[in-house]
Symmetry: C2
Subunit: 436 residues, 2 copies
C-alpha cells in the first residue's frame, strides 16, 4: 500500500496518531477536539508549565474548563516537550505564533524553529500541517523546501498541508468543530489528506486550490476586520467633530437589511490577530513592489486610537474645570476584548502607561484580571480594585476601555462623577457619560 492510501486508512479507522505542536489558544482546543473524536493525540510545547498543567488535568485558558482537560487526559491525551517523539506520530499539526518584529516585519522564528526541531525525526508517510496565520508562500518556503532538501518527495512520501486556524475565543455560537475549516495541500494528494484529516473533526471543510490561496484567505478575513475597524474609528473622529454620536449612527445603519455590516469603534486594537496579521501581507506585497495602502492606513488610525481617547478625556476634563495633574482615573476593563482574560496587545496597557506618564493616579478594575501580569512591553504593578459605590465615587474620571458584561454599570452610572465611554456601552442621555 502506498503512503497516501495508508495514511487515509489510518485516518478512517482512527488509528492515526495526531501530534499538535504549540498548545496555546489554537493548539489546545484542536488537541481536545481530536481527542474527543477518538484520535490518539500527543501535544508538544516548549513550555514545560503547559505540559504540567495538562498532565495534572488543569486548564490555563479561562474559557476551557479543568474537567475538559482531565477528561481528555483520561481519553489518552499526552503532552510532552520531547520532540524525539515526533518519529512516533503520523500527523504533525503546527500551531505556533507568528508575531511581528519591532519594525512590523513577520517573525517566523517560531515556525522555523519548529521545523528545525522536527526535521531530524520526520518519517516517510507523515503529514505536516501548518495552521499559523502567515503570508502567501510560507508553506512552500518554510515546509516544502526543507523537506525537499532532505530528499522527501512531497505528495508521495510526505504530505504538506496548510489549514489556517479560525478560532474565535469566547464566541458562544461557534467552536472548533462547527467553524468551517479551509484546507489546502501542496499537491492533490496532500489536499486529499487534508480533507480527510480535518473532515473527521470539523463539520465542514472548505478545500482550496493551493496553500497560497489558503494563506491569503485567512489574511483577507483579518484584513477586512482591521480595515473596517479602522474605518469606523476614523468615522468616530469625524462624527465627534460634528457633534454626532457615532454609535447611534452605526445602530441606525445596521437596520439596513443588505449591504451593511456594523463594526464598532473602540480605544484601539488588541489580541494576537487583527493588529498583527495584516502586516504579513504588507511585507510580502512590498517584495512584489506593491503597497497595501488600506492595511497601512488602518494600522495608522487604529494605533492612534489610545491617544485619541486620552485626548478626548483630557479635553472633557478641561471643559469641566477638572485638574489633570494628579487626577484620579479608574480604567474600567483592561483585557483586549470583552469577557476574556487576554491582555495580548491590549490598548488599556498603553493607555494606563500614558496616564501615569502624565502624572495622573491610575487604578483599574477588570473582573477577569485581578493583577496585571508583566507582558513583553509593559510591567505595571497594579491590582484590580473592588467596584463599590465608595470606591467609584473617588475618581475624577472613569475611562471605560473594555465593556465586560459582568460589570455593574448601574453602580458606575450612579456613583461615577464622569465616565468616558470608548465602547458606546452606556448609551442614553446620562449627564456623567461622554462617548469617546
Amino acid at each position: 500500500m502506498n503512503h497516501k492510501a495508508e495514511l487515509l486508512q489510518k485516518i478512517a479507522d482512527k488509528s492515526v496518531v495526531v501530534s499538535i505542536i504549540g498548545l496555546g489558544y489554537i493548539g489546545l482546543p484542536l488537541a481536545l477536539r481530536f481527542t474527543e473524536k477518538g484520535f490518539k493525540v500527543v501535544g508538544f510545547d516548549i513550555d514545560q508549565s503547559k505540559i504540567d498543567h495538562i498532565e495534572s488535568g488543569q486548564s490555563y485558558i479561562n474559557y476551557i474548563h479543568n474537567e475538559t482537560i482531565a477528561a481528555a487526559v483520561n481519553n489518552g491525551l499526552k503532552a510532552t516537550t520531547d520532540f524525539r517523539q515526533i518519529s512516533q506520530v503520523d500527523v504533525i499539526i503546527i500551531c505556533v505564533p507568528t508575531p511581528l518584529s519591532e519594525n512590523k516585519e513577520p517573525d517566523l522564528s517560531f515556525v522555523r524553529n519548529t521545523v528545525q526541531s522536527i526535521l531530524p525525526f520526520i518519517q516517510k508517510g507523515q503529514a505536516v500541517s501548518l495552521e499559523s496565520t502567515t503570508y502567501p508562500g510560507t508553506t512552500e518556503e518554510e515546509l516544502v523546501s526543507p523537506f525537499m532538501e532532505k530528499d522527501f518527495s512531497v505528495g508521495e512520501n510526505i504530505f504538506v498541508l496548510y489549514s489556517p486556524e479560525r478560532e474565535d475565543p469566547g464566541n458562544k455560537n461557534y467552536t472548533t468543530a462547527t467553524i468551517p475549516k479551509i484546507v489546502s495541500g501542496h499537491t492533490k494528494h496532500c489536499l486529499e489528506i487534508a480533507k480527510n484529516l480535518y473532515g473527521s473533526v470539523v463539520e465542514n471543510v472548505v478545500p482550496v486550490s493551493s496553500t497560497k490561496v489558503a494563506e491569503m484567505t485567512k489574511l483577507l478575513e483579518n484584513i477586512y476586520r482591521a480595515v473596517n475597524i479602522g474605518l469606523v474609528n476614523e468615522m468616530k473622529m469625524v462624527a465627534d467633530k460634528m457633534g454626532i454620536d457615532i454609535f447611534e449612527v452605526i445602530e441606525a445603519a445596521a437596520t439596513k437589511p443588505f449591504g451593511f455590516t456594523p463594526y464598532y469603534p473602540g480605544p484601539g486594537l488588541g489580541g494576537h490577530c487583527i493588529p498583527i496579521d495584516p502586516f504579513y501581507l504588507t511585507w510580502k506585497a512590498k517584495q512584489s513592489g506593491i503597497d497595501t495602502k488600506f492595511i497601512e492606513l488602518a494600522g495608522e488610525i487604529n494605533t492612534n486610537m489610545p491617544e485619541w481617547v486620552i485626548d478626548k478625556m483630557k479635553s472633557v476634563m478641561n471643559e469641566r474645570g477638572l485638574d489633570l495633574q494628579n487626577a484620579k482615573i479608574l480604567v474600567l476593563g483592561v483585557a483586549y476584548k470583552k469577557n476574556v482574560d487576554d491582555l495580548r496587545e491590549a490598548p488599556a496597557l498603553e493607555i494606563i502607561e500614558n496616564l501615569l506618564h502624565d502624572n495622573m493616579r491610575v487604578d483599574y478594575h477588570d473582573p477577569y484580571l485581578p493583577k496585571l501580569p508583566a507582558t513583553r512591553k509593559h510591567n505595571l504593578q497594579l491590582s484590580s480594585i473592588e467596584l463599590t459605590a465608595e470606591n467609584v465615587s473617588k475618581y475624577d474620571c472613569i475611562l471605560l476601555i473594555t465593556d465586560h458584561d459582568n460589570v455593574d454599570y448601574n453602580l458606575l452610572l450612579n456613583s461615577g462623577k464622569l465616565i468616558i465611554d470608548s465602547r458606546g456601552r452606556l448609551r442614553g442621555a446620562y449627564e456623567n457619560v461622554i462617548t469617546a
Copy 2:
C-alpha cells in the same frame, strides 16, 4: 387644533396630499408606494418628458412596469411641472440628485433650486422632507434656515424632516415598502410627523435623534461599501502579483460564519451613490479640519481600476503575442451593475474611450442597452452587437465588464479567443479566460 395635530390626523385618515419632487429612481417608486397605500399623490419634476410618460401610463425605468404606472394614475397619481401647486399639498418630499462638481465638491444646486421653487408657495401646516443623500447639516442649512428667514416656526407651523432614501434598484428581496426607513426631524414635533408619515407606507421606520444623525447614517452605509470595494480591489491587485485568484480567496473567506462579509472587485465603481456620496462627508469634514483618509484612498483605488483592467488586458495580449494596434475588442456589459440599464458613472464608458484612444477597434454587447446614449461625459456612437458564435470569434479579446445574468456565457467560452474577466464570473480552469 394645532398644525401638528391636524397634520397627524390627515396622515391617519389618509386625507393628506403628498407631493414628491423629483421623479427619478427614488421619487417615482416612493410616489407609487404612497399611491398604492391610498394617499393622494402629486409628483413634481422639471423634466416634462417624465410628466408625459406618467400621464400616459408609461414607465421610464426598466424595472418598473407600465402597468404599475397606469394603475397608479388610475388611483389618482398626478404629475406636473407647475410648482405653484405646492400650495395645495400637505407634505412635500424632495428626491432630487446630489451630484459632485468637477472638483469633487458637493453640488447642492438641485436641492437649493427646489427650495427656491417651493418657497413662494409654502403654507403653514405643511411638512417638508428631504430624501437626498448629503452631508450632515444640510437639512438645517438648506431647509430650516430658509423657512426661518421667512418667519416660519419650525416644529410649530412647519415641519422639517430628513429621511434618506435606501433604494436598491434591481434588488429582488427588498422594496421601498420593506426596507426599514431612517426618519428624523428638526424638532420632536417634526420627528413625530416623520414617524407617522413614513410609518404609513413602509413596514419599519427607524427614528434617530437628529437630522444630522440621519444624514450621517446614509453616508456611513455608502462609505462602508465604497471602502470595502476599494479594499478588495487593492487585494485583487496584490493577489494578482502573487499569482493568486482573488475570487477563489473571497469565496473561501465567505465560508467564515462570523466576522466576514464578502465584497467583490470589479472594473471600477459606477452608479449614482457609491462613487459620489462619500465625498460629501470628505468635503464637510475638511471644513472641520479633519481628513477622511479611507474615503480618499477608496476613491483613488476605485478610480484607477478601469486603467488597471486595461493594463492587465494589454499585458495578457502581449504575453500571447497579440498585436495591440488595431486589436478588435468586444466589451461585454456596459451598465454600471448587472441586470440594470443604468449607465450613470459606468466604468465601461471610460474603458471604451481609452481603448479607442489606444487605436483599438471596439464593439460592445449589452442586452439592456441597445445603443449608448450620450451621457454628461461621454458621447460614443456605438450599438450593441448581436452575440453569435461568428461575431464572438472575430475578436482578439473579450473584456467582460458587467456580468448580466442573461448573457450566453457558454457561447463566449466556446467561441471567444481570449476573455479578460473583471467580475470573476467565468470561474474554472478555462484556458481562454484570465481574471483581471
